[in-house]
């Protein structure tokens, strides 16, 4: 026996759920719709594979894809050892009272706005890189990747910690009972057990690195060419969207940013599903 109020409330909840999930689909659909004229002009793969040269009528986003790959992978390479070390510290290497403090600190670090990383990067790191390598303006893949690495490390550390926390207590007690030191327990027991969860953390951090706009926009130099070394400037997909937004609404330049949007969307979606798939496998194992 359901009263009208019961049904109304249930319908409202259902409606909200449908509305919020339709946003997910709506964003993709709308971007495909806006970018559609571009497809008629040259085909999807031509856009992905071509160079960016507006004066010659080439509106390919390949340089931006390469730039995104360079900045985010290098950023990940910076962040991985940092996060690994930090998660080891908080998981057992550091003395006990320090661990909690450290973890609290790392949690707080996830709240630092990206625009502040970018701002400090421009005025502190860019001159250092410029002076140190004496090559170019200092705004390059390396600068952006260093700052990006510091930016994603706290989140990655917390994901690694999650993976460690999911290890059943009995395994750890067994290692303790056998007289393992903290480092031994970490290397021989915790690390092999947490491998999969840590992979998840790396994938999620990659998604974050690819999706970040401000650091790449402010620090990577934004030249629309495939970078041939880490000292060269590059433009990421996200920065491309931010830079071209002011162009004429009917122009192919403007259309190309929707191709960037679709690529970013599909890539992060693929990462999300990869994480879900891996997490599912892990649940089945334990």
């Amino acid at each position: 026996m359901k009263t009208v109020r019961e049904i109304a409330a249930e319908r409202t909840f259902l409606l909200s759920a449908l509305a919020s999930s339709s946003i997910t689909v709506g964003i993709l659909a709308f971007m495909v719709f806006m970018g559609l004229p571009l497809l008629h002009e040259g085909g999807f793969f031509a856009i992905l594979g071509n160079a960016w040269d507006p004066y010659r009528g080439a509106y390919g986003i390949y340089p931006m894809i390469a730039g995104t790959a360079a900045v985010s992978l290098l950023g990940l390479a910076v962040a991985f050892p940092l996060s690994l070390g930090c998660s080891f510290l908080t998981a057992g290497i550091a003395p006990k009272p320090l661990r909690g403090v450290l973890r609290r600190f790392i949690e707080l670090m996830t709240g630092i706005p990206t625009v502040i990383y970018g701002f400090v990067g421009i005025f502190l790191l860019v001159p250092i890189i410029r002076e140190f390598f004496r090559d170019g303006s200092g705004m390059c893949v390396l600068t952006a990747a260093l700052v990006l690495g510091v930016m994603i490390s706290p989140t990655m550390t917390l994901f690694f910690r999650d993976a460690f926390d999911r290890i059943p207590r009995a395994y750890l007690n067994a290692a303790d009972a056998l007289g393992a030191s903290r480092a031994q327990k970490l290397i021989h027991v915790m690390l092999p057990l947490a491998k999969k969860g840590m992979l998840n953390g790396v994938i999620l951090a990659l998604g974050r690195a690819v999706g970040d706009t401000l650091i790449a926009l402010m620090l990577a130099g934004n030249s629309a060419q495939v970078p041939s070394s880490v000292m060269e400037p590059a433009r990421t997909l996200t920065a491309h969207i931010a830079l071209v937004i002011a162009a004429d609404y009917e122009s192919p330049e403007f259309r190309s940013i929707f191709a960037c949007g679709v690529v970013l969307y599909l890539f992060t979606m693929a990462l999300t599903f990869l994480v879900r798939y891996l997490a599912h496998g892990e649940d089945a194992r334990i």
Binding site: S16, S20, T24, L82, R208
Partner: protein, 294 residues
């Protein structure tokens, strides 16, 4: 012996990595404070205008952060106002009603939504503004309304996930007591389950506020500009603190402007620090899984 070396190396490596990360963040903070501490005064916010007159909107502030702060505040209030009802009801639906395939599908949708880069959400907002401008009314363009709706999309997954997690964390006995006493399902939700999970929901709201305050990518595409004064309506452009910081970094004209950029960074950093510690404080077991988006 080789094992010994490996263990020693692990310990050294961990300390080196931890200290490197802490040192880089410490350098960042110290650098900001060193450069920006002299800017921290009421002049930073109100410029040459008397604070009281500015607050009462009697006089326009030209050389201070007051319009940017007001813009950020309005943006937060509006985005949260759109996101809270939808986000919390969706969280309730996920935790209390959905099951089986429906729940799995919705879960997947919200995971994807949480992973979408904020610039893509901003692009969506911008494109909608262009679309509406062309097909409905000339008065609609990138504006406060569009920005706040886009931002609410961005923070929706936080609210959904924290609400869902808080509700699902309630023990089964508590869940059944009111039902056994004859309460209906909806009464049980509103009178027992929601009050019990309020800390979790609150922490989600505070986190969402933090995201709204710091996000730059969405607002730079959907209507934040360098000088607009106070927004006069929902359809006008506005200033915001993170956008101001971004703008100053590339367009500053003199050292004084740059110093105020440092000052603005310190203000934003303090705001986010307060919000994040509040969120973690409200609910200790808060998961950061909802937080990974750039």
């Amino acid at each position: 012996m080789r094992r010994r070396i490996l263990e020693k190396a692990t310990v050294w490596f961990s300390w080196a990595a931890g200290l490197t990360l802490l040192a880089s963040v410490a350098v960042l903070l110290c650098y900001l404070l060193a450069k920006g501490h002299e800017a921290l005064s009421t002049g930073l916010i109100f410029g040459g205008t008397p604070p009281l007159r500015a607050l009462l909107l009697q006089e326009r502030v030209f050389d201070g952060l007051f319009p940017a702060l007001a813009g950020t505040l309005l943006l937060i209030i509006l985005s949260i106002a759109w996101a809270i009802p939808v986000g919390i009801s969706t969280g309730i639906y996920l935790a209390e009603y959905a099951d089986g395939r429906v729940k799995k599908a919705l879960d997947a949708f919200f995971d994807v939504l949480a992973g979408i880069p904020s610039i893509v959400v901003g692009l969506f907002g911008f494109a909608s503004a262009v679309f509406l401008h062309r097909h409905f009314s000339d008065r609609i363009g990138p504006c406060l309304l569009i920005s706040s709706i886009s931002l609410s999309f961005l923070v929706l997954p936080y609210l959904i996930r924290t609400t869902q997690a808080a509700l699902e964390g309630i023990p089964g006995e508590t869940r059944l007591t009111a039902l056994a006493l004859g309460a209906t399902r909806v009464q049980n939700i509103f009178l027992v389950l929601i009050p019990r999970s309020l800390p979790g929901i609150m922490s989600g709201i505070v986190l969402a506020i933090g995201r709204c305050a710091e996000d730059t990518a969405v607002i730079m595409l959907t209507g934040a500009v360098a000088s607009a004064g106070l927004p006069s309506s929902l359809l006008s452009q506005y200033e915001a603190v993170p956008f101001y910081i971004y703008y100053i970094s590339s367009q500053y004209a003199d050292p004084a402007e740059l110093t105020s950029g440092y000052g603005a960074s310190i203000l934003l950093l303090m705001l986010c620090a307060v919000l994040f510690s509040a969120a973690y404080g409200i609910r200790k077991g808060l998961t950061h899984c909802t937080l990974y988006r750039a």
